[in-house]
């Protein structure tokens, strides 16, 4: 006999009455598992953000106008001196203040504590991170967009190109400390420079007559770190750019070519303008990534401590009549010199504060303050990205 489906009895009053089958149980079980998973993620994220906000906001913000702790954002990090007198009053000050106060207190001094890096502000790390981000995003955008254009518009689709794509994707999975070592070897120690007096450590020198091209590396500096970071974010930028290019309808290209445009004219006028919003949006996420990486800049650009901003070095002094344009060559040189300085960087500064010095309430304060500022910066980048995507979407829809 053939299996006939069992006809359940139908309740005439409610033909849709629920049947408690296994399916229904499974349904609600799965729904709850998924819901819990999401809840865990949301609550952990919220806990992290709250924790940082509670501990960091009092450091970076202030109760009175202008509601931010200006000193924290505009001073360089320094050693914090905490002086306690016999009455139990606690005074926080820097090196210079400490001597005067000790003199004044005389015998009334109970104890003096010094906590490295925890005084002053975090201007140095902010400036350093900004410069690293500018260099890395500039380099990565140029290289990334160029290769994305090549891959999606020029290269014929074959196994070789697929392998290149795969390699790029794999690059995204390389641990960032490996990029750090790569940067150390490639940019700090071997990258070519023009110089009249090559160092002995140069791997290879190429005399050019008026100067020498020496493969002696760029040293630990913004340039080395920026280039290293560029390679960290390249896979993201290439993949995203390629997607954005591919999202531009094929008809735009056909129409343009049918009007007699060359391939580059087509890309420049009928593809790139419509892909740019997306490329920029995704590169902002690249900025957040570059700003947050520690390992790649540890060997290539960042110092734990530096008491000068990159442009505060002794510069080539200009003649007295110096105007901005009269000595443009020197001015350019001075500008470029900024990028050959090592810097402090926010993530590395946080690492130093959290792991390299003895922990106490003062170092913790500096630490959470930095983390809070960092978080705000990254969050505002992400917000910009979302806002940009929205407004540009509306403008370049087809």
């Amino acid at each position: 006999m053939i299996n006939t489906p069992i006809q359940p009895k139908i309740d005439p009053a409610n033909p849709f009455v629920g049947r408690h089958s296994r399916n229904q149980t499974l349904e609600s079980f799965v729904r709850w598992v998924l819901r819990c998973g999401t809840l865990v993620i949301v609550s952990v994220t919220a806990a992290i953000v709250l924790h940082i906000a509670v501990k960091g906001a009092p450091v970076a913000l202030s109760r009175e106008w202008p509601f931010v702790n200006v000193a924290f954002l505009t001073e360089l990090p320094s050693t914090l001196h905490v002086i306690q007198d016999n009455q139990g009053h606690i005074i926080e000050t820097d090196v210079n203040g400490a001597d005067a106060i000790k003199m004044e207190l005389g015998a009334n001094l109970r104890e003096e504590k010094t906590i490295s890096y925890s005084g002053g502000g975090i201007l140095g790390p902010i400036v350093g991170t900004a410069m690293l981000v500018i260099v890395s995003v500039g380099v990565a955008l140029f290289l990334g967009v160029a290769s994305a254009i090549y891959l999606s518009e020029y290269a014929s689709h074959g196994t070789f190109i697929e392998m290149v794509r795969l390699a790029i994707l794999n690059l995204a999975g390389v641990p960032s400390v490996v990029f750090g070592l790569f940067g150390l070897g490639a940019f700090v120690l071997t990258a070519p420079v023009f110089t009249n007096s090559p160092l002995d450590r140069a791997i290879f020198t190429l005399p050019l007559g008026f100067t020498t091209l020496s493969f002696q590396g760029w040293d630990t500096c913004v340039l080395s770190g920026g280039f290293t970071l560029a390679f960290v974010i390249l896979p993201v930028i290439i993949t995203a750019s390629e997607q954005c290019l591919q999202a531009v309808p094929l008809e735009f290209r056909e129409t343009s070519m049918a009007l007699g445009a060359t391939r580059w004219q087509t890309i420049w006028r009928a593809v790139l303008p419509f892909a740019t919003p997306g490329i920029l949006t995704s590169s902002i996420l690249g900025i957040a990534r570059a700003a947050g990486e520690t390992a790649p800049i540890m060997f290539t650009a960042a110092l734990a401590f530096k008491d000068k901003l990159p442009w505060q070095k002794d510069q080539i002094s200009l003649p007295a009549d110096a105007s901005l344009f009269a000595h443009w060559e020197q001015n350019i040189q001075r500008f470029l010199a900024i990028f050959t300085e090592s810097v402090q960087a926010l993530p590395y500064h946080i690492y130093t504060l959290a792991a390299r010095i003895p922990q106490n309430e003062y170092s913790e304060r500096a630490q959470y303050g930095s983390v809070f500022v960092f978080l705000i910066l990254v969050a505002s980048l992400a917000a910009t990205s979302i806002w940009m995507r929205r407004s540009l979407r509306a403008k370049y829809k087809w």
Partner: protein, 262 residues
Amino acid sequence: MPPSASSPKQLPPVVEFRGVDFRYSTHTVLHNIHLSAERNRVTALIGPSGCGKSTLLRCVNRMNERFVGARVSQGQVFVKGKNIHDTDVDLTQLRKQVGMVFQKSNPFPKSIYDNVAYGLRIHGVTAKDILDDAVERALRSAVLWQELKDRLNQNALRLSGGEQQRLCIARAIATNPDVLLMDEPCSALDPIATLQIEELMQQLARDYTVIFVTHNMQQAVRVSDYTAFLHLGKLIEFGDTEELFSNPKQKLTESYLRGTFS
């Protein structure tokens, strides 16, 4: 059998296929095509889906060659008396003089002005007055000037489907081509917009040589001077439109026109 000799010719053809075979990488889709389109005449290409009408049309401005392995494997295509596969033919110059309008209207998401000026800018025109002039002329030819002259800076995507298609025609004729290729230009339009485009095509024939693909028999009758019927990559019949529709010489043509096609 080459049917090109069947139509009366007074003017030298602007576009001429001489025994053309076209193949995509794996298979040949056009076989021994002999066809010519005369100056200031409208030529319609009809035939069942997949018979190679678009391929034939796109041979004239060599747009097929974007695909790997796609090429004319035999015969020659002449445009204005020049073999377009000669090595001294510059593709950009060829395409400047052979305009194309696609099935789906596809203006760039730019202003109306920028759309029409696109071709000229590509060919190096930057002078504002020349551009203004050409844009106005092209829009007038496409019967759009009266409608659009006050909102040239508006985004072209905000136009209606019919206006968009006429804008695409304006864009194609802005570079002043000799030949205008149209691949099912009305298939996405409503009857009224279709009629407008048809009228426009006949007007355009005064200045240009129009070759177009259509699935609409009435349209071919209404608009074209000559009709070519293709089937499975072969040109079955080519001749005066009235003649071909009222008195087809080939059995295949007859059954296709009657709709008793298998």
